[in-house]
């Protein structure tokens, strides 16, 4: 435990760095997934194509992706842009599917009644379908964010410092407390971001608060679990 007290500055610094690296892929992934998920939900052809490509990209182990990606996007493999894009790809791969599923789960009767009372399709999407799909989209976002936080640690191998530094450094110096701190702090950052997302979800979607949840709740709890995959 001595190690922790002597290195509080380092831990704090790395934690902040870790958070800073985690947020862009989560946000970008979310923003990109909405149009992609919509395309996948709306058109059968794009659905097959998009979900297959997403599935294949998600299958590639992270360290391999960090190495393969740079020549394709034209950056150095040591650049931070590299891992931001790689982690965004994973986030999109998870979320595009859940956006498509979420939109598909909106009760057709609600959709039809919205059309019947005169919503244009643009407004219907933003005011009816998207909010109703919210809980399932949020579930996907939570999976993507937890997975992103843990994947950031892999960046240490290509020189991107995060809490992952405590793993390589701790191994070299054989300091158990250092490695344990790295693991625990990564989990804490993941849970922290998760808690913030849940809170935002409650504020934006008050109708899904506990007690009133039904089917959406069920899907929401099952989705993250079955999607497997964590740090690759």
């Amino acid at each position: 435990m001595n190690w922790v007290w002597n290195n509080l500055d380092l831990i704090g610094e790395l934690t902040l760095e870790h958070i800073r690296l985690s947020i862009p892929p989560i946000l970008l992934g979310f923003l990109i997934s909405i149009p992609l998920g919509f395309l996948a939900y709306r058109f059968k052809l794009t659905r097959g194509l998009l979900l297959t490509v997403a599935g294949l990209l998600y299958t590639i182990p992270s360290l391999a992706l960090f190495v393969i990606l740079p020549p394709i996007i034209g950056v150095s493999y040591l650049s931070e842009v590299n891992i931001t894009i790689a982690l965004t790809i994973y986030a999109v791969a998870i979320m595009a599917r859940s956006v498509a599923d979420a939109l598909g789960s909106v009760d057709p009767a609600v959709r039809q009644s919205a059309t019947a009372v005169g919503f244009s399709s643009w407004r219907r999407f933003w005011q009816v379908e998207f909010p109703l799909a919210g809980p399932v989209i949020l579930a996907g976002l939570r999976v993507a964010s937890v997975s992103t936080v843990s994947l950031v640690t892999v960046g240490i191998f290509i020189g991107i410092e995060s809490l992952g530094y405590l793993f390589t450094n701790g191994l070299q110096r054989r300091i158990f407390a250092e490695v344990l701190t790295g693991v625990v702090m990564t989990v804490i950052v993941a849970l922290l971001i998760d808690a913030i997302l849940v809170l935002i979800g409650r504020l934006l979607m008050p109708w899904t608060n506990p007690g009133t949840r039904r089917s959406a709740n069920r899907t929401a709890t099952q989705l993250p679990l079955a999607q497997g995959g964590g740090a690759r």
């Binding site: 299958t59 191998f157 490695v179 693991v183 990564t186 849970l191 989705l223 679990l225 079955a226």
Partner: protein, 244 residues
């Protein structure tokens, strides 16, 4: 694209098949650790998942543990275990961490496969006079098999990815070329092996995808169109392995 040509050249150069670091050996190591760990994880997670799925007990605990497990950084877990069991026993530490990382997916596949079955089917099986074992073997396992394979699929991919990182602690496997290439800035070698690792993962994923299609009971595919309309959202939510 020049880099990719160099990487392909690296893969097919004569050195890959001889010397101290032959490709066959590294591929063999990668596969061996993957299958060994998958087998061990399955041996633990499947019976447990079936117990949860059949009795409906312990589900919340399983969901909680699996959720928390996803937040675990896999490389951190390996290093932690290496320091616990000792650096000389690094392979054992790696296998333990692979098993731990694969268990949540397989567990989820096993119990969600049982949970997704129409309650009335199980109720009527019991009413006909099937014993609990017969319900499990004749009804629940066959109908839950596709989701179980989905869980094994996620678990296997998780292990392949983590085994790549485990080359850092001396496990061998295909990741070793990346870690050797990094300090030398030998990018063709890194890229070549990264391509091989990606190809291995995609191949394994494809094999599991085929297996998954193959184990869907005939009667379920036969009525798929009607079935889908009734249960599509739920089934997809449960079955949502990322690679589909």
């Amino acid at each position: 694209m020049n880099l990719f040509t160099e990487a392909i050249d690296w893969i097919f150069s004569a050195e890959r098949f001889q010397g101290y670091n032959p490709l066959g050996l590294r591929l063999g190591e990668h596969l061996w650790f993957t299958f060994l760990s998958l087998l061990l994880a399955a041996a633990i997670a499947i019976p447990l998942g079936y117990l949860i799925g059949h009795t409906g007990k312990g589900r919340n605990l399983a969901v909680g543990i699996s959720g928390a497990a996803r937040a675990l950084p896999s490389f951190g877990l390996i290093v932690l275990l290496v320091l616990i069991v000792g650096v000389t026993r690094a392979p054992a530490a790696a296998v333990i961490s692979f098993v731990l990382l694969a268990i949540p997916s397989i567990l989820a596949g096993a119990y969600s496969g049982l949970e997704a079955i129409d309650r009335r089917v199980i109720d009527s099986a019991r009413a006909m006079g099937m014993t609990e074992w017969q319900i499990l073997w004749k009804v629940e396992i066959p109908l839950g098999l596709p989701l179980l394979i989905g869980g094994l699929r996620s678990g296997a991919l998780q292990i392949v990815a983590t085994a790549t990182l485990a080359a850092y602690i001396g496990l061998g496997g295909l990741g070793i070329y990346i870690f050797e290439g990094l300090p030398l800035r030998d990018y063709p070698q890194m890229l070549g092996s990264a391509i091989l690792i990606a190809a291995l993962a995609l191949l394994l994923d494809a094999l599991f995808a085929i297996l998954q299609q193959f184990v869907v009971p005939r009667g379920v595919t036969a009525g798929r169109v009607r079935d889908d309309r009734a249960t599509s959202t739920r089934r997809r939510a449960v079955a949502g392995t990322p690679a589909e």
